[in-house]
Subunit: 356 residues, 2 copies
Amino acid sequence: MARYPGITISDLAQRLGVHKSTVSRAIDPQRRHLISADVLRRVDAAVRKLGYRPNRAAAALSTGRSRTVGVLLPDITNPVFPPILRGIEDALDAEGYFALVANTSRHDDAPRVAVERMLAQRVEGFLIASATRDDPWLDALRATGAVVVLVNRTSGDGHLPAVISDDMLGMRLAVDHLVELGHRRIAHLAGPAWLSTGMARRIGFEQALQQHGLSPAAIAECNAYSREAGHAGMLQLLKTSAPQTARSRARQRSIPRGFSAVVAGNDLIALGALQALQQHNIAVPGALSLIGHNDMPFIDQVNPPLSTVRIQHYEMGFRAARLALEALQGLPGSNETTIVLRPQLVVRASTGPPMR
Amino acid sequence: MARYPGITISDLAQRLGVHKSTVSRAIDPQRRHLISADVLRRVDAAVRKLGYRPNRAAAALSTGRSRTVGVLLPDITNPVFPPILRGIEDALDAEGYFALVANTSRHDDAPRVAVERMLAQRVEGFLIASATRDDPWLDALRATGAVVVLVNRTSGDGHLPAVISDDMLGMRLAVDHLVELGHRRIAHLAGPAWLSTGMARRIGFEQALQQHGLSPAAIAECNAYSREAGHAGMLQLLKTSAPQTARSRARQRSIPRGFSAVVAGNDLIALGALQALQQHNIAVPGALSLIGHNDMPFIDQVNPPLSTVRIQHYEMGFRAARLALEALQGLPGSNETTIVLRPQLVVRASTGPPMR
DNA sequence: CTGAAAGCGCTTACAG
DNA sequence: CTGAAAGCGCTTACAG
């Protein structure tokens, strides 16, 4: 019934007149040394000649190790995730592992369903890029004994191993940059508060301002990391901070009064904000400076090229996968580690000195 | 030794005082109807109570079906692929399948190695988005009896099932648009000739021009679908088509003489071309019109928003996965099908009438 | 260094 | 409708 009927370890054994357990040993790099040079040679030759291909499904059953890891991410179509996934896959690949990936933004239940199916496939661990703060099922998952490592986003309590970017620092870099340019009234387009990044960046934003003796000019929370949400958020920011008289409201079209710069929770939000600003004929950075977060691919070529905070997407994925792999090998401590990566300011053309 | 020790079909059987084969049947939707309502009820209850989770690895061994499919793509970091992969995963997910994905652009041998490993994992089929024209191993793979479906790119001979965009039509749409705007001297930044898309679009470009009684003003072949290659290609185009005298060469900086519009093999190439053009102070579309291909995410927000040809990325992935699934179910004809999807012209701001 | 046996957790003819 | 048995292709103590 096997799809690739192929030849088995028993076929080899029979052909060589040895026992299949001997073949099994000869084939496993770990136990190869137990076998005589002569047998080794003959097995190798036969393997090559017959095109033997080990059946991992069978090995998985007997060892309990599937050499697969489950990866949960909201949506691979969001440009933040491809480089993360690439990092994950490169790390896994080096150890002979495969990723089983699921997009979980389909519906609320998607993560649970995906985990269920992955467990049935007997993945050895989970890499989760879609954590929300206080996800009860995350702890439940951990409780099953599964190895789980969070990427990019942490859960609220933070007692799961994770690899993230230093979001507070990221915001500090953005705010320092704007303050240095002369801005004093700075607004924030925050990411969703139920995501650790949304929360951490918002707090980071406030703290960074505080260090300069400033407080937020305005904050609007976007309900997603998306252009649409960024667009809506920017509109809201413009409305609430608009002066009251019709006359000054007219002026506001080109010169927003409440703030001279805005820090976006991420680049997608910034992109949406940019669209709103263009529709309102508010020049960036002439009338308003805008800075994003993430340095997503090709964001350097939008109009205007976006200043942003670069996070180490690929590294994040790679390190997270390494961490999971280490935990699977029982490396002590790998289950209690959180790795925080340094982001970096990238100044392009969307930030400039405020109008005086 | 099993990682998730979990409970097995035998545990359930013992607990309920029935044979494990009965439990096996009760659990399988396909064979459920063979079982008495009473036993069904008791099995269901026990399953729920004990949190039974079927072991796919075991099922895979006995049925030969792993419920996984291998996906080969050059690099998930190239923005064309996430929507394709998303389509694939959605289709697979609906049938309870997972994708094992490999990025094959690492080195020349990567595809072969990936296929080897996937075969060891006993994937049931392959979805290949990284085909090159005349890939000998593709046929070899097919010869093993594996189900293989090509996505986006075909192999040269074209006797493998595939889901692609109508590349000839895509080029026709682009050329017709430019001609309609008044362009007569149109150049092409071709994709690599060893990729079916590069070849088909180049031919499509030439044929479309021919239908208007025109011939190519210039063609430069890029050695990859990347910004870098597009940048280099554009430079080459500018150089070869530059007039000979120093004086006219100076003019050429703002008004290229050999052509008034260029059709890029894809958006990444167009993006690179745009950078080269900006460096040379050649206004788009003022001095030169530029149109891309693919309508990749966020290309609408570059400077200037790129006119392009939209291909159905997601659909392509989805249909390809469906095709593979159908072939796995032995649906006749699914192995000899090529699905060609219609692209669509998207006019934005990078194309305009030629200078007179 | 090698063999024989048991087992991993399912599925599937074959009987009844 | 249910049971008993064999088997999928490996791995791994246990002997020798």
